[in-house]
Structure formats: structure tokens, C-alpha cells
């Protein structure tokens, strides 16, 4: 029931904000219902928090930011519909989202063709920024994180051979697996067995029994946090003692809330952490907790930072009132932005496309490496 009230409050705030004269309209297309809502909702919260903060400080060059929030349900057709609505009807300056990489592959070309920036905060798949020069993202690609995670864990545990487990019907976990596979080959680490599961599976014992038979030194796992936690619990109940190494999906407090001690010793790399002591992050974590009465996660942090990135670009742009010119000016200003946000120091890196055409812009950020100890992510310093 509380979500209904939340919606009403949201509607009310939108109405009051839209009364302002010189508003900068920014579209937010995220999955707010359906299975992907567990990512879409925190992302939206991150945007709202950032917009409130920016507007409370007087907006950008005196103009308030107005978020036009739409639910794309995590479906590709809906993502296209919502993008078109935002671009052609609401006439927003740029769009954040959509939540899933799959939806970006469908909706991104719409934005690119109408020369409007589409800025993903949670799209980690390869090839997203190949769509075109109007596609941006601040989500760090797995290929930038996993080599460091794996190398750190291998050194720490003296790993000789690993087993691999991943979700093979999900674009996010499958592309994470593809990167792991390449990293393991590059670092010459033999794989005892590669096992898969599908979305909705809750029984992983058959695969884990097989993994146990190969007696690996660690289990590499490309899964979402809640699935991963269940995998860990079932692994321990089968008597498997090997530590886990995870990808981006592990980055959620859910992982240790559910797995308890079963997850101890897990290595994970992340662009963001609850405990990063930088002042930007402490501000973000406290403000988020106060506003939503919940722990923030990486998705909320990236949404929050994304709006600050856009705000930094908008500060350097003189808005003319001509929508096409303003969209183009924003597009040209964005790549130069650098900020120190909740996820640390951030800058863009031009994407290199397969066929040599100018692509969009990826995130250029250093990941933190964490080890899970006593049901908590601790920054790995080599002495843990």
C-alpha cells in the first residue's frame, strides 16, 4: 500500500515542480514494474535524490531540473514507446535509462536517430555504445573490473583451478560470464567445469555436486545477488568450502543479508561501495537513507552520479530554447565532464566501435576490490 502513497507523493511533487517557469526537462525511463523493477526503482530514487539536491541549491544557472519519469517495464517495446513519448511529446532535453541492456539495444537507436542523448546508468553489456554517438553510460563494464578482481583473488588464495557457474538465459549474467571466460584464458587458469542455471531456478544442487567433484580452489560465479546467495548457501550445505569470486551482480547488500557466513571470503569488484569514505559518498548514503528509509545500492549511486554528470555538462551550456540546438549542445558538452561522485572519480572514454564509426561514451573508472568478511564488504588491502 505504501508504494501507492509514494506514487501519489511523486505525482504531487512533479506537479509542483512543473509550475516553475524555466525548467530543464530530463526524461527518466526505468523499469518500475515487473521483474527488473528491483533495479529500476533504486535507480529512480537516485535520480530523484540528486534532482532534489540540485534544485534545493538553486538549480543549474538558475533553472530547475524537472524529471519526467516513465515506467518501461523492462520490456523492449515499452522502452521504445517510452523513449518516443519522451523525445517527441514531452520534448525532454535528454533521457536517462532504460534499465536493462536489452532495452537499450532496442530504444537506444531511437534516441540516436533523433539526435538526443540516451544515458544508461545500469547497462553493462558490450556493444551498448556502438549504437551511436548519442549513447552514454556511467555504468562500468565488466571487462574493466573482472581482470582485477580475478587477479587479486588468485594471488590471495593461491588459486590453481576454478569452477564456473552462471545464468545462461539472462543477458547480464551471460555477458558477465563471457568476460570471465576471457579473463581466465588470459590469466591461464584452468576451469574444472562450467555450469549454468536459468532465471527462476532455486535448486542448484545438481550443478554444485558436479562442481564439488572437480575440487576447485574457487568458484567463479556470474549471477544476480539473490541467486548468488542461494548458490552459496546450497554449496556450503553440500560441503563445498571453496571461496566465490563474483561479478557486478554481487554488488548488493542482499548478498550477505541472505548468505550470512556462507559468503565469507568472496571477492568482488565494484565501482561503488557503501563504505567508501569520500565525502560525496557519505553525503549520498546518508541522504538516501534519510529520504527512502532504505540502504542505497550501486544502482542508486550510479543514477545519482549520472544526474550530477549531466548537471555539470549543463552548467557549461547556454540554453537557447531551440530544442534541437540545445540537445546537440548538451551532447557536445557531456564528454568533457569529470566529477567526484558517490562512485568516486569519474570521466568518460570514447568507445571504439567494431566498424570504426564514431561510437558513444563509456565510463572510465577504477573499481574497488572488496572481500566479504563477517557478513560485510571490506575494502581489500592485501592485509585482510
Amino acid at each position: 500500500m505504501s508504494s501507492l502513497t509514494k506514487t501519489l507523493i511523486l505525482a504531487a511533487t512533479l506537479v509542483t515542480v512543473s509550475v516553475q517557469a524555466a525548467d530543464i526537462k530530463v526524461g527518466v525511463a526505468e523499469a518500475l514494474s515487473g521483474g527488473a523493477a528491483q533495479y529500476g526503482v533504486p535507480i529512480r530514487n537516485g535520480f530523484q535524490l540528486a534532482a532534489d539536491e540540485i534544485n534545493a541549491k538553486g538549480g543549474i544557472n538558475g533553472n530547475k531540473i524537472q524529471l519526467v519519469i516513465e515506467d518501461e517495464q523492462g520490456k523492449k517495446e515499452e522502452a521504445i514507446n517510452v523513449f518516443k513519448k519522451l523525445i517527441f511529446q514531452d520534448k525532454v532535453l535528454m533521457i536517462f535509462g532504460p534499465t536493462l541492456s536489452n532495452s537499450m539495444f532496442a530504444a537506444g537507436p531511437v534516441a540516436n536517430a533523433s539526435k538526443t542523448v540516451a544515458f544508461g546508468t545500469s547497462n553493462t553489456a558490450n556493444g551498448i555504445t556502438d549504437i551511436g554517438p548519442y549513447i552514454f553510460r556511467n555504468s562500468v563494464m565488466e571487462s574493466d573490473v573482472l581482470p582485477i578482481t580475478v587477479a587479486t583473488a588468485v594471488k590471495h588464495y593461491h588459486i590453481k583451478k576454478v569452477a564456473v557457474m552462471y545464468g545462461n538465459d539472462d543477458a547480464f549474467t551471460k555477458s558477465g560470464y563471457d568476460v570471465f571466460k576471457k579473463v581466465l584464458a588470459d590469466q591461464n587458469i584452468p576451469v574444472t567445469t562450467t555450469e549454468t542455471y536459468v532465471k527462476g531456478d532455486v535448486d542448484f544442487k545438481a550443478q554444485l555436486t558436479k562442481i564439488k567433484a572437480g575440487n576447485p580452489d574457487a568458484i567463479i560465479c556470474s549471477a544476480l545477488a539473490e541467486e548468488a546467495a542461494n548458490i552459496m548457501l546450497q554449496a556450503r550445505s553440500l560441503g563445498i568450502k571453496a571461496p566465490f569470486i563474483g561479478g557486478n551482480g554481487f554488488n548488493s547488500p542482499k548478498l550477505f543479508e541472505i548468505s550470512k557466513q556462507a559468503g565469507d571470503g568472496t571477492f568482488v569488484g565494484s565501482p561503488w561501495s557503501n563504505d567508501n569514505p569520500s565525502s560525496a559518498n557519505v553525503n549520498f548514503v546518508n541522504a538516501y537513507k534519510k529520504k527512502y528509509n532504505a540502504e542505497p545500492n550501486q544502482f542508486a549511486a550510479q543514477g545519482y552520479d549520472a544526474l550530477y554528470i549531466a548537471a555539470a555538462a549543463l552548467k557549461t551550456v547556454k540554453l537557447s530554447g531551440n530544442l534541437e540546438a540545445d540537445r546537440q549542445a548538451l551532447r557536445d558538452a557531456l564528454p568533457k565532464v569529470t566529477i567526484n561522485g558517490a562512485t568516486g572519480a569519474f570521466k568518460f572514454r570514447p568507445a571504439v566501435t567494431k566498424d570504426g564509426k564514431p561510437g558513444g561514451f563509456d565510463a572510465d573508472q577504477k573499481p574497488f576490490i572488496y572481500i566479504l568478511q563477517n557478513s560485510k564488504f571490506n575494502l581489500f588491502t592485501g592485509k585482510n
Partner: protein
């Protein structure tokens, strides 16, 4: 005029989807008209979508040739699985075709060439509004002609009573196979059109839920004629858009509408007799 241009720019994808799903709904209607409850059409749509997308992306075929292939590929598959499967009746056929659909989805999921769960992206956007209108028009015209032909009457006889139909000298097997294969062609072409309208396809669009969705459109609209399935496809595609204001509760409303229609409008939403009565024109024969 600017308003109209904006409206079209915003809603063209939605309108395309209605046309595509109307075509798929007709494909299921066709099998139902012959008394077959087949749930394989989502998979046929998927085969059409993947074959056409791959031919566009990798072989660079022209769009018309790609669409022809989108119809022929699932037809070939339907021919192969139809011969043994169509011996089953009623629920058992539904379940066998459902199982077939799942197997197709899992195969697409695990192949390299289909891009696995990440799907295929960057499909050229070749579908135009008039393509959909023309193909849908052609399908409606053809099916309407067929209904009044010998084949159409044979379908009706088989649906009413299979044994009696075969006693009357109708080749039941051959007619069933014809309906099944033709249904696969329609679904496959719809898949090809859809793939070339949305840049991107992935295996999850052609699974169990979609098979059930498509069937629901037909029953919702009414299986008595050709208009019902298309109306059903139109309404059920639009409904989530129209219910946007209900936010996370729109699923509940969606489900309730379905239950209420099944309970209170046994012949579906589109029932010419009832609609004429509504406008005071009174019942007419025919």
C-alpha cells in the same frame, strides 16, 4: 499537422505492434477454426524473427526476400513436426505444442549464431506502416475467401465433429496439416515484421508467456470470425498503455478484465449481433 507528426512519431511503434499481433492472432484463429488448439505459434513467430534477422544482418538479403524466408522457415518446421503431432487431440495437442515451443526457445538461447540470451541487435529498421497494412489486408482477404470455400467448410466440419467429417470423405489429416502450416507462415511473417521494427530480438519474447498471451488475444476478441482476433490483439496490446496511470497495479486490472470477459462475454468482445443490438438495429440473420 505538427500535432499529428508528433503523435505518429510517438505511437508508431505501438501501432506497428497492434498490426503484428493482429497477424499472429489470425494465425491462431486459423488453427482454432480447424479445431486445433496449438500453442506453437509464439515459437513459429520466433523462428520467423530469427531467420529474417539473421538473413538481414549476415547475408544482407533485401527486405522482401527476408520476409518470404520468415514465412517459409517456420512452415518447413511446422510440416515436419505437424505430421506426428497432429494425431493428438485437445489438451494433449496444446501441451505437445507448448513443449515444442519451449524446446525452440531453449535452442535459440544456447546457440552462438542467435546471440544467446543477449539476442540480436542492430537489425535494420525496414518495416514500414504500409507493409503491415498490406500484409494484414492480404491475410484477411485470403482467409475470408477461404472461409467461404470448400476448404473453409471442411475446416468447420472437422471442428464440429472429426469422425463425421472423415465419414463425409474429408481428408482430415491433410486439412489439419494445411491449417497448421499456414498458421506457421502467418506467425513467421509477423515475427519478421516485428524484428525489423524494433532493432532487437531476444529469446524471451517467444516463450510460454507469449504463447499464452496470443491465445488470450483471440479468445478475448472472439473466435467466431476474423474481426474478433484482431480486435482482441488491438485491445490487449493497448491496454497496458491505457492503464499506465495505475502503475504497479495495472497487472491486477489486466487479469480482472480477462476473467470478466471470459465470464460475461462468452463469444468474446467482438460479437456483431450484440453490437447491432446495442445500437438498436435488432438481430439480423447471417
Amino acid at each position: 499537422m505538427e500535432w499529428l507528426a508528433n503523435f505518429w512519431a510517438t505511437y508508431s511503434t505501438l501501432i506497428y505492434s497492434i498490426g503484428v499481433y493482429a497477424l499472429v492472432a489470425l494465425s491462431i484463429w486459423l488453427t482454432l477454426a480447424c479445431g486445433l488448439l496449438s500453442l506453437a505459434n509464439a515459437a513459429f513467430m520466433g523462428i520467423g524473427a530469427y531467420v529474417s534477422a539473421l538473413l538481414s544482418l549476415q547475408a544482407g538479403w533485401p527486405f522482401w526476400a527476408v520476409l518470404v524466408a520468415a514465412g517459409l522457415a517456420p512452415a518447413g518446421v511446422a510440416l515436419i513436426i505437424g505430421i506426428p503431432t497432429l494425431r493428438l487431440s485437445g489438451v494433449y495437442l496444446a501441451m505437445a505444442t507448448l513443449a515444442f515451443g519451449e524446446v525452440v526457445r531453449i535452442i535459440i538461447l544456447n546457440l552462438e549464431i542467435t546471440g544467446g540470451p543477449e539476442g540480436l541487435n542492430g537489425i535494420p529498421q525496414s518495416t514500414r506502416g504500409w507493409h503491415i497494412v498490406a500484409i494484414l489486408g492480404l491475410a484477411v482477404y485470403g482467409l475470408a475467401r477461404m472461409r467461404r470455400s470448400r476448404t473453409g467448410r471442411a475446416f468447420e466440419a472437422i471442428r464440429e465433429d472429426e469422425v463425421a467429417a472423415s465419414l463425409m470423405g474429408i481428408d482430415v489429416k491433410r486439412h489439419k496439416l494445411f491449417a497448421f502450416v499456414l498458421g506457421a507462415v502467418l506467425a513467421g511473417v509477423a515475427g519478421g515484421l516485428n524484428a525489423h521494427a524494433t532493432f532487437f530480438i531476444s529469446p524471451r519474447e517467444y516463450g510460454f508467456e507469449n504463447a499464452v498471451d496470443i491465445l488470450t488475444m483471440v479468445v478475448f476478441g472472439g473466435i467466431g470470425g476474423l474481426v474478433g482476433p484482431m480486435v482482441g490483439a488491438g485491445i490487449l496490446t493497448l491496454l497496458p498503455e491505457l492503464l499506465r496511470f495505475l502503475h504497479e497495479f495495472r497487472g491486477i486490472f489486466n487479469g480482472l478484465v480477462l476473467i470478466l470477459v471470459v465470464l460475461f462475454l462468452p463469444k468474446g468482445i467482438w460479437e456483431p449481433r450484440r453490437i447491432r443490438a446495442l445500437f438498436g438495429l435488432g438481430p439480423k440473420e447471417g
